[in-house]
Symmetry: C2
């Protein structure tokens, strides 16, 4: 499952600027990063009159614009998605998700704090605070990095969230016949299924998962 | 697996206009539709200076902007995605995917043809042509609908691509213990797993699928 870290802080603390500095440091180390930004006011990401804009205006639930080097998607949702839901529904092919904000979400958080702007931290350890980046030292049981120390912060993230684990083994039978899978497909299937199950009660980190799917005849 | 239909036709045949008329007809019937548009020239979907734009400029592989009623995503790709890949990586929660163009893709196609604009059809049945919408009658073994007949075209799509089937049954064990699942989760898990497997050799439509995932200890 792709790890999520939220960059939180009071307004004007420099969250976007921190992400602008942290992403290149992680990218330079070979990690692919997704970012998530909450926009409570709604947003416009497409231009009036474009074909894709016309599709959306006509009532399409989801519109995808695909080009050889990037893809864009706009879709309806019925409520604000949690970071977990965003990860499950939308994000693939990255090593880490950094959100800007999402203080109320359950994911681990790094708070940015500037002594000249604010008096108190936004988060406590009950908010899953895992680190602070600040121009003031805090001694509250989590690492505190200097505002400019991107190397230290990236080392911390790498060590705690990006350390590789041995991939799970997966066995697949179709109609009783064993199907051999490439390492890529094994990894993809196992991680996707485990990701889907991870939010279900009774499916906490486990040693073995067995799934059987039986296709029944169409009901006429 | 979500069915895909490509709306194809020579340039200036009215593909976008057809999608603008077809989507409301399908939506009125209770279906959720995703559309896919190919943009070979690239595109801009975000505004310079916005926080999400700054994330992307900093090198984020994927940027998500989330609001209470819609979500947008921009991500890098290494090559043009096929419709199959777009479905797998990006699209959820819809009943049908309509692409504009994608004549070379392997998905079923509906061609739009105007006699005053062109002389010959773009597709043959080898291109997976399943229907024509035109102001000229064609008798080539696939249904031909009048350009204005959205009801007829939607009936055709509904009957051939959207007829409900009985949902598959799914059984899940974690460390040997049966886990009970809600109908929504059953359906979601079974369809997602079947969708992932559908492109693998030896996993063609099947009666029964068994998967076992074994988590091993971390390699130190």
């Amino acid at each position: 499952m792709i790890p999520i870290i939220s960059i939180v802080g009071k307004s004007d603390s420099g969250k976007t600027t921190l992400i602008e500095k942290l992403v290149p440091e992680l990218t330079r180390r070979g990690y692919r990063v997704a970012t998530v930004k909450h926009d409570i006011h709604g947003f416009e990401v497409d231009r009036e009159g474009k074909d894709s804009w016309r599709h959306k205006q006509a009532g399409a639930h989801t519109v995808v614009i695909s080009s050889p080097n990037k893809v864009a998607l706009i879709r309806d949702v019925e409520k604000d998605l949690t970071l977990d839901e965003i990860r499950e529904k939308l994000i693939q092919d990255v090593d880490l998700i950094l959100s800007e904000g999402y203080k109320k979400d359950v994911q681990p958080k790094i708070e940015i704090f500037r002594k000249e702007k604010h008096r108190e931290l936004l988060c406590t350890q009950e908010d899953q605070l895992v680190a602070i980046t600040s121009n003031q030292k805090f001694d509250i049981g989590v690492p505190c990095f200097d505002l400019e120390d991107m190397k230290g912060l990236a080392d911390f993230i790498e060590k705690n969230f990006l350390t590789p684990t041995s991939p799970p083994e997966i066995f697949l039978k179709v109609d009783g016949k064993n199907i051999s899978l490439s390492p890529f497909v094994k990894d993809f299937l196992a991680k996707t299924i485990q990701g889907m199950l991870s939010s279900l009660k009774g499916c906490e980190p486990s040693h073995r998962i067995d799934i059987r799917i039986e296709n029944r005849k169409r009901q006429e």
